[in-house]
């Protein structure tokens, strides 16, 4: 009479495990708020279930406070967004003192997005973060919106190596994820240099270098001329890059770029990403990340998957 053995197993046992371990940090699920799109965590309170998230990346932090860029900072494009914020932030010390305690309280893993305009600045910032309560550093060598540093370090394998090495030394206690630029001429080479220099994980993509012209004023919309493109518009390109990168290096890859729905997130997880970040989509629809988390679970239940890594279609081509 034992025709339906599944009914005898408690449902909890068949429930998929959405947790993921990235370089020693355990996230309850693979959905992380992307840097610069979620402030310091509390801004979105009420509009989504923040405690449910796997992690939160802070706005890009620099050693000294920065006022950010002048002029227009955001400009909508078809299914996307150009931004030129220019790393406005209160500086790492003020962050640790004023923002981090409340951010820690929210529940998700705290990932500090670190930027700088010189190797020294990066290294000093990393040292400060190393002795704070953050869980992980995301090293931003891919910001297209600052004049010195930022993306310059992410375009060239040697430059990337040269900045990561000292950061790795200054922050020996924190896992280091390096955020790559889709604008790099040879992404795989940059990625390999990052790993060689000690990166424990890689995240990509940061925004694509792009621009807009104000035809009424007859000048570029942004004072820096170019700005960074994000949002669903870039997703097919970002996915292709994540797919290729998962083939090129052996460290965990966190995929992002235009993810707005569980279906989108599943594409990246199937391409080999161990986790994903959601940026601009939260602007358009604040509960997007909660829906993504439950949608991933639903899909796994439907397909009978118990662990996230079963999603990777190259490592687990079955089903």
């Amino acid at each position: 009479m034992n025709k339906f053995p599944v009914s005898r197993i408690s449902p909890a046992l068949n429930d998929p495990d959405l947790s993921v371990n990235i370089a020693g940090i355990k996230l309850r699920n693979p959905v992380i708020a992307a840097s610069g799109t979620f402030g310091y965590g509390k801004e979105y309170r009420g509009l989504l279930e923040i405690a449910e998230l796997g992690g939160i990346c802070t706005k890009g932090l620099t050693l000294a406070p920065r006022p950010g860029n002048e002029g227009t900072r955001i400009h909508e494009t078809p299914s996307g967004l150009l931004n030129s914020i220019g790393l406005e932030n209160p500086g790492i010390e003020a962050f640790i003192e004023k923002e981090l305690p409340a951010l820690r309280e929210l529940g998700p893993a705290v990932i500090a997005n670190l930027s700088g305009s010189s190797i020294e600045e990066y290294a000093k910032g990393a040292a400060l973060l190393d002795s704070s309560s953050i869980d992980m550093i995301e090293l931003n060598i891919s910001c297209p919106n600052v004049k010195a540093g930022g993306m310059a370090f992410g375009l060239d394998p040697e430059a990337a190596f040269d900045v990561i090495k000292p950061v790795r030394r200054s922050a020996p206690n924190k896992p280091l994820m390096v955020k790559l630029s889709p604008n790099a001429p040879d992404l795989a080479a940059v990625a390999r240099a990052c790993v060689k220099a000690g990166a424990n994980a890689l995240s990509l993509v940061n925004t694509f270098k792009a621009m807009a012209i104000d035809i009424r004023m007859r000048k570029p919309v942004f004072e820096n001329i170019s700005a960074g493109l994000s949002g669903p518009a870039i997703r097919p390109i970002a996915l292709r890059m994540v797919w290729e990168l998962c083939d090129a290096v052996r460290v965990p890859i966190v995929g992002l770029g235009g993810i707005a729905t569980a279906e989108d997130a599943l594409e990246f997880l199937m391409a080999g990403a161990v986790a994903i970040q959601v940026g601009s989509a939260t602007f358009a629809h604040p509960p997007a990340m909660n829906e993504i988390i439950s949608g991933i679970g639903d899909y796994m239940r439907q397909k009978g998957f118990l662990e996230l890594r079963e999603l990777d279609i190259r490592k687990n081509p079955g089903k």
Binding site: T37, F38, G46, G68, I74, G80, E88, F283, A284, P286
Partner: protein, 252 residues
């Protein structure tokens, strides 16, 4: 800075009514199961099946009944056009209430008559605020291109209307008919040139003046730092530190 306003929420809301005010302006009512906004607050609004990526900030214009919010929307670009295309049965996602409110500013000001000065759809947040003034007396100065609208729930000591084409009330622009003398505080919302003029004449007369600023917004919650208003004390976020600012603080 806003302590008053209630927590924010996000819901997919049904459009309950659509009214054409004129070719360029409509009013919509939505069901809203979340916290009641205060005058001056806004929502990020996005049609369920729209084509624009981001929501658009739209001020609450008022409500006839609890659980229902009214908005007045003017055509500007594609985003406002999509919202103007909503009809009963369609839905839009509303996130809010967002930003600070006029009362945050007005509360710290000595008693005395207030002046509310609007231009175009700027009437919405001020008309929403008017009932909150309770027994405090106020005058309402409202400027329009042509036919006035949005003033149904406004019960001012005196109502001054100006239209650009002179079709109703005074002919001309509203700041031409306004003097801050005799007011303890001024609240204003409308096009930038109007706000600048109002702010300047208030500053000259030493009358406190609060204005609602407009910026393109991505998050509407203070998270993205995209909607910077420059003030004498540094960058402020229009959406979270505003939209209402003390006019003397604003660096234009």
């Amino acid at each position: 800075m806003s302590s008053f306003p209630a927590a924010k929420r996000c819901f997919l809301c049904e459009c309950l009514s659509y009214d054409e005010i004129n070719e360029e302006t409509i009013s919509l009512e939505f069901s809203w199961p979340g916290p009641q906004p205060r005058g001056g607050q806004f929502f990020m609004m996005k049609a369920e099946f729209g084509g624009v990526f981001l929501g658009r900030p739209i001020s609450t214009a008022g409500w006839e009944a609890p659980g229902i919010l009214r908005f007045i929307i003017a055509r500007r670009g594609r985003g406002s056009e999509e919202l103007m295309n909503l009809r009963p049965g369609n839905r839009a996602e509303l996130s809010g209430p967002l930003g600070n409110c006029w009362a945050d500013a007005g509360a710290v000001i000595p008693e005395g008559p207030a002046a509310l000065i609007s231009g175009g759809v700027g009437v919405a947040p001020l008309a929403c605020y008017a009932p909150e003034l309770g027994k405090r007396s106020y005058d309402f100065y409202a400027g329009f291109k042509n036919r006035p609208y949005g003033l149904e729930n406004v019960k001012p000591r005196s109502l001054v209307i100006a239209t650009e084409d002179g079709s109703e009330g005074l002919e001309g622009r509203i700041p031409d008919f306004f003097s801050p003398k005799g007011y303890s505080i001024v609240f204003s919302c409308g096009p930038v040139p109007m706000l600048k003029t109002v702010a300047a004449i208030c500053e000259e007369s030493g009358v406190p003046c609060y204005i609602s600023m407009e910026r393109h917004m991505a998050c509407g919650t203070g998270a993205c730092l995209g909607c910077t208003v420059k003030t004498r004390t540094g960058n402020r976020r229009c959406c979270a530190d505003g939209p209402i600012f003390n006019a003397v603080e604003v660096v234009w």
